[in-house]
């Protein structure tokens, strides 16, 4: 399979041919495309089975269009290590669309370790979309430590809705200083014997810091999921919410562990977790409009994961 197939699957052909759009394209352990922009530096170095990436956005720089990162593996069997060091300087703004495309994977391991620092008043959005093969022969192990300085904003959406999950083990931890805002969302559609582990932690250590951890998982067949969301509020006026919903069908197995740890009397954190089959009233409402039970369940799950 050639790299064009990855571009096509990720729908980024237009974006990477635009000189005003920054991008970095990696196939396994090789950089096949790189374009920076003024104020944005992207440096790469080949490491064993992967790439070490350093991204720096200068103080006050604002990147208008989303930056495309594409991590692909066209082989059926491979290990891909991605080491990322991201620094967003004071009052800078950037949005990244990360496409992780493994369309032929039979035995592929994708490991990512990221250290991210978002400077005072800076904004960083990271939307990560995975496209996997239908075989399920993939392990995805992303780990990220994120630090938000005063007034910084960070939002990440992780989405794995196309192809089989295989095994995924997400481990993200964010520390939020004064007046900063973190939003972490993960949406995963599991089937077959997929195994999903999600650990999202938020440490609200600064006065008036805010955090929301959201997880949406659908499980069909024999798929299983364990979701661990922890929000610690350790400062006055820190506010947070943990929200986990998992829909289970067939022989799917789901576990949700929301932990709310409030260590300051002026902080406030709420949580909600719901695991279960598709809601009967929703299901029967759609069936009463003529949809079959399966069509109704699919529509409800599509909505939950949208």
């Amino acid at each position: 399979m050639d790299i064009e197939k990855i571009y096509e699957a990720a729908e980024i052909e237009g974006a990477i041919s635009d000189p005003d759009v920054a991008h970095l394209i990696i196939n396994k352990d090789e950089v096949v495309g790189l374009q920076g922009l003024p104020g944005l530096s992207v440096e790469t170095e080949q490491i064993e089975n992967g790439i070490d990436i350093s991204i720096n956005l200068e103080e006050g720089a604002v990147i208008e269009d989303p930056v495309h990162l594409c991590f692909g593996v066209t082989d059926e069997e491979a290990v891909q290590n991605i080491e990322m060091d991201i620094n967003i300087e004071k009052n800078a703004e950037i949005g990244i669309l990360a496409h992780c495309v493994f369309p032929q994977a039979r035995d592929v391991e994708h490991i990512m370790n990221a250290d991210i620092r978002i400077g005072p008043g800076a904004e960083y959005t990271y939307l990560e979309k995975h496209i996997h093969s239908e075989e399920g022969g993939i392990k995805v192990i992303p780990k990220a430590d994120i630090l938000l300085e005063k007034g910084a904003r960070f939002r990440t959406d992780f989405e794995l809705l196309e192809g089989r999950v295989g095994m995924i083990d997400i481990d993200y931890e964010t520390t939020a200083k004064e007046d900063s805002v973190l939003e972490m969302m993960a949406k995963i559609d599991g089937q077959g014997d997929d195994e999903i582990n999600i650990s999202e932690k938020g440490n609200l250590v600064g006065k008036n810091s805010r955090g929301v951890l959201t997880t949406r998982v659908a499980l069909r067949d024999e798929a299983s999921a364990e979701v661990y969301n922890k929000l610690i509020a350790d400062a006055p006026d820190a506010r947070g919410h943990v929200d986990c919903k998992e829909i289970v069908q067939g022989n799917g197995k789901a576990k949700a562990i929301p932990i709310v740890d409030v260590r300051n009397s002026e902080a406030h954190v709420t949580h909600e977790a719901a695991i279960g089959s598709v809601d009967t009233k929703q299901l029967q409402t759609l069936m009463a409009r003529g949809l079959s039970e399966d069509e109704s369940a699919d529509l409800i799950i599509d909505g939950l994961l949208s």
């Binding site: 409402t285 759609l286 949809l291 599509d302 909505g303 939950l304």
Partner: protein, 250 residues
């Protein structure tokens, strides 16, 4: 011409008789009101006609357009032309109003037009999720729009007027009248005297059975004069009645 005939219908849930040897026949293209105190079995009758979970293990028969439907699934009953609107419509996280309205219809349905028919601004609502961000009254009107899209032969409306602001009530009744004018038979479950006025005929239910039926004026009068003083009429019913009277005199 008869569209729905219910014969000796009995429904038991956890040892309690909810519907008790009930018989009923209604004609097509009419609007029927179903009144009665709380717990009389009005909603249970609607759920049983629709075949919802927990309301399928019945004695007797339900004949729709000449065929027994008691062994059919909810989907199969809907395909035959029956549908239901809940008193408290479901919330759907992530599903937009547009998706909800068009989910059950052939392509070509204009959701904007349908929303406008129920008195809602389509530009404001079409792309909003059908979740708790909408009030119960808004979801109820959207559910009615989805029923218009389906163009059913028989629609069961469970208290379509409850939780609706006074300004929207007339619009709701206009839609119900439109359904009737277009040939849909409507069974309107209600506590409200104002809703009764929009029906052609009425049934009075008590204790799982139909105890009276006929012209709206006669059944409505009987309901107000006799049921209110009956022991079976609970404090909750009286509170509901007072609420309705207050609403109607505003």
């Amino acid at each position: 011409m008869s569209i729905l005939k219910i014969e000796d219908l009995t429904l038991e849930i956890e040892g309690s008789k909810i519907l008790n040897n009930l018989n009923l026949e209604i004609n097509e293209s009419k609007i029927y009101a179903m009144v009665g105190p709380n717990g009389a079995g009005k909603s249970s009758l609607a759920f049983t006609i629709m075949g919802l979970d927990g309301y399928r293990d019945i004695e007797g028969d339900i004949i729709f357009k000449g065929d027994s439907i008691k062994d059919l699934s909810v989907t199969e009953r809907a395909e035959k032309g029956i549908t239901l609107a809940w008193q408290e419509p479901a919330r759907f996280e992530g599903l937009t109003v547009r998706q909800f309205i068009t989910s059950s219809t052939e392509s070509g349905t204009d959701p904007e037009e349908l929303l406008n028919k129920v008195g809602m601004d389509s530009t404001e609502y079409l792309d909003r999720p059908m979740d708790s961000g909408l009030s119960g009254g808004e979801r109820k009107k959207i559910e009615l729009a989805s029923i218009l899209a389906m163009d059913p032969d028989l629609v069961l409306l469970d208290e379509p007027d409850s939780g609706i602001d006074v300004a929207s009530l007339e619009k709701i009744f206009d839609v119900i009248k439109t359904l009737g004018d277009n040939g849909t038979t409507v069974i309107l479950i209600t506590h409200s005297s104002s809703a009764l006025e929009h029906a052609d005929n009425a049934f009075l239910m008590c204790d799982g059975d139909i105890v009276d039926h006929g012209p709206v004026s006669a059944v409505g009068k009987y309901f107000e004069e006799e049921c209110f003083n009956c022991e079976a009429f609970s404090d909750q019913d009286k509170a509901d009645e007072k609420k309705e009277v207050k609403k109607e005199t505003k």
